[in-house]
Symmetry: C2
Subunit: 471 residues, 2 copies
């Protein structure tokens, strides 16, 4: 007969590790570094701390046995971030779908899976525990744990733990794990990832030590940092029936009108009253009424109404763009171009989630001529290096008629696109490309065209000057 | 402070429904139909039953209120398959990561998520339960359940259930759910999906009733069906440290040699002895010894050795290709071409998983001329319609130098690629494109070239004949 069984979410992502980006030793080494670095940046710049991040990738000396043992590496990432409280430490690193980022706010992390996927891959290919040291700002202790994930139960299994008195005010986290990798193939991608991270975070100090013994140092070049994003309440345009039921079950509001005002963003007292009147729904309705049998049609009508009524757009306090000045400086540093332009667009929304598109274009100078624009994609400040051709930015940039901007390929053109949102619609949990949500796609197009028009002005002026010189 | 919390896997796929393919009402309608149809085909042709599948998509009559209520549809899929035992019914439809397909065998389903993702999307956009009728072959009853998923707990919540005495020997399943959709946008994709399913399954009888009142009927044109695939034991080339530990914990084998022979495929007595000798490991070792503290290096060495030793390739009994004859007939039926060729390659393996690549090429006749080949992708008999540009088949077919096969674009060329495996390395749980695993990529290339060479012979002969006619 059929073998029916359930599977823990840890076993699911162990068996299907390619879904999380751990498809082979090359990608796995890259993905593990990413997940740790993105956690360190979330613990620093999203918390108002000037980041100091030290990345070390070292080969594991395998006793030379000629038994085909596969190359393994010890990855260690240390930061000066807010740290992990000891009460959450085991779960944060040992339980898949455990996170502090399940809130509505722009962060790099969002799934509660990243570091656990790396820990799982390490367990599968090296059999060793992850080691975490951490101290929070307020605490007087540094805590340490070595743990593995009990895959069948999706629970942390602590092998060792320690506690020391903290000297001074150090706070931060250091994560170390061992896994099978392929540095020779992963090297260029990992270097590119770290460089592209540093170039848009000039307020961060980053050190990368490689298995070849190289040390790459990205110094802090400014102390000015974008404001950390705030946490938002849900926006009515993004609500669904399940989410509304969940809000109703946990709310303290005594009436439907109060629920709308207190549980959502963009709904003030006046708006709530007007909204409920327009759809003929009683403002004094007790929220729990909506959960009763027979009330399904009213609940559905309310959700449809919340999605349709023109509530004001979500605020951008929950976002943290890179900044057009930083994008321009970064492009100049990377490419020594003859021309650079960048824009940070005003906030828009997709399904109740605010987003900001930023575009930078660099032209000429030391940029190599290519058959198509060199596209640098970013989402929530994360550089995206794989899966380009199904990404919304690639779709837009490759569909632009560059001829109308005086660009004939091959040409020396770089386009940087950044999408910042409280929810980036990635195509997969490995966060390599972004889905083509219509609102985001049209905003990227507008932003690219805005800067391309400025480039055209420069190019036609340059052409006229060269004409003049010839005569 | 930080809000640390865990999330059930049901909540995870509700919040991130785009990961499962439910990104908007158009894709959601398509994905829901797919998930139900693929479950019905797994319950029939993978079980030696000639499939009868009835798909109905009907609009939900919303009372015309002008309150912007969004279009909803009732999707119903019925089959004559093996049915779902009542003891597993609630979990099969109400618990994310519950499946009968967590075994090593070629099936369309593999994640234990598909129908639950559709149920969740229905709950979020229509608030109604899924309804399931089912009867298994041996049972004297038909069982019915209406249930919803308790998202926070990832448990089924049965709202209603019933049991009737079965008259006759009916067996099968009928699944009905309601969700928000967009038939006008989804129509062409859903029709294409069903047609492309029918064309490679001529032994299946499929009826599709659409919201427009159309009835599409795909009659059975043969009673000959491929043998259902068998279940495999793991192959040593695909093992990792976690999996080996799990095997050790559950095995009844008293010695390591017996464990290798009984728990793996492709390891006979003689091979096991030779393997353990070569790596200097004691065949009489008690398996549980390997789990003890201090034995990690031996365990790692054993896993590395299992991945390196040239055990014979996995058998193909666990696979079920379409068949080159069916592919040719299908391409003729779809395109009325002037030439068709197809091949079913011999089995290969990726990471211990057997796979078979099949390719069909059709040329000329009624095929429209296009700037690039029209690519029809399939994986485990599922038509893949989205995410083409990051798919391994697209990568291969678009990189072929078609000029050397006498093809100049625009040209009337169709290429069908089918990848059948005990584990298809999809890029996402929505099963729309396949990762470019090197073994699979090179096998697709070999298969396409094999058939392209035959096409070239035809085209050059045709060119010579036309030359002769001119003189
Ligand atoms: N370096 C760190 N400093 C502080 N907290 C950390 C650090 N690394 C991990 N954490 C904590 O552990 C949690 C789990 O991390 P994990 O990477 O698994 O998920 P995530 O970052 O929330 O989401 P994602 O899966 O998208 O990365 C984080 O939410 C954070 O609270
Ligand atoms: N029509 C059906 N007939 C028989 N069994 C079914 C049917 N539909 C679903 N099932 C059972 O329910 C289980 C869960 O289905 P579900 O689609 O969620 O997962 P899956 O098919 O195993 O994997 P995937 O997520 O890849 O689709 C199946 O494994 C199967 O045992
Ligand atoms: Mg993370
Ligand atoms: Mg399924």
């Amino acid at each position: 007969g059929e073998k029916y069984r359930e599977m823990s979410v840890a076993e699911f992502f162990a068996k299907n590790k390619e879904l999380a980006g751990f498809s082979n030793p090359t990608r796995a080494l890259y993905q593990a570094v990413r997940e740790l670095v993105e956690n360190s940046l979330d613990a620093t710049d999203a918390k108002g701390i000037l980041p100091w991040i030290h990345i070390s990738i070292a080969p594991v000396p395998e006793p030379s046995q000629g038994d085909g043992s596969r190359p393994r590496y010890v990855i260690s990432v240390e930061d000066n971030g807010v740290g992990v409280p000891v009460t959450s430490m085991a779960m944060a690193f040992g339980k898949v779908l455990f996170s502090s980022k399940y809130v509505i706010r722009q962060t790099r992390g969002m799934y509660g899976l990243g570091v656990k996927a790396a820990v799982l891959y390490g367990q599968m290919t090296a059999g060793t525990p992850v080691e975490v040291f951490s101290a929070t700002k307020g605490s007087q202790y540094v805590h340490m744990m070595r743990l593995m994930i009990d895959v069948q139960r999706n629970e942390p299994r602590i092998l060792e733990k320690g506690e020391w008195n903290k000297r001074g005010s150090w706070h931060g986290t250091k994560v170390t794990l061992t896994l099978e990798g392929d540095w020779s193939r992963a090297r260029s991608k990992i270097l590119e990832y770290v460089k592209r991270t540093a170039v848009i975070a000039p307020y961060a100090e980053i050190v990368l030590e490689t298995p070849d013994g190289e040390i790459l140092y990205f110094p802090r070049t400014t102390r000015r940092m974008p404001k950390p994003p705030k946490e938002a309440k849900p926006h009515p345009h993004g609500v669904d029936i399940e989410q509304l039921k969940s809000i109703i079950r946990s709310t303290r509001a005594k009436t439907l009108k109060d629920l709308l005002v207190t549980e959502f963003q963009s709904i003030g007292e006046k708006t709530a009253v007007d909204f409920l009147e327009r759809y003929g729904i009683d403002p004094k309705l007790k929220p729990r009424e909506l959960l009763r049998k027979g009330r399904e049609r009213l609940l559905r009508r309310l959700v449809d109404a919340l999605m349709e009524y023109p509530f004001r757009s979500p605020k951008s306090d929950y976002l943290s763009p890179i900044g057009s000045d930083i994008i321009e400086i970064g492009l100049r540093r990377m490419f020594a171009p003859e021309w650079v332009g960048a824009v940070t667009r005003s906030p828009k929304a997709h399904r109740g989630h605010p987003f900001i598109v930023e575009v930078g274009i660099a032209y000429g100078g030391s940029i190599e001529s290519r058959d198509e624009p060199l596209l640098l994609r970013y989402a929530n400040k994360i550089p995206l290096l794989y899966e380009e051709r199904e990404d919304v930015s690639y779709k837009v940039v490759s569909s632009i008629n560059w001829k109308q901007y005086n660009i004939d390929f091959p040409a020396p053109l770089v386009v940087l696109v950044h999408i910042a949102s409280t929810k980036v619609p990635y195509k997969g949990v490995g966060k390599e490309s972004v889905s083509d949500v219509p609102e985001i796609e049209s905003e990227i197009r507008n932003a690219v065209q805005e800067i391309a028009r400025k480039l055209r002005i420069y190019l036609s002026r340059k052409a006229r000057e060269q004409e003049a010189i010839k005569r």
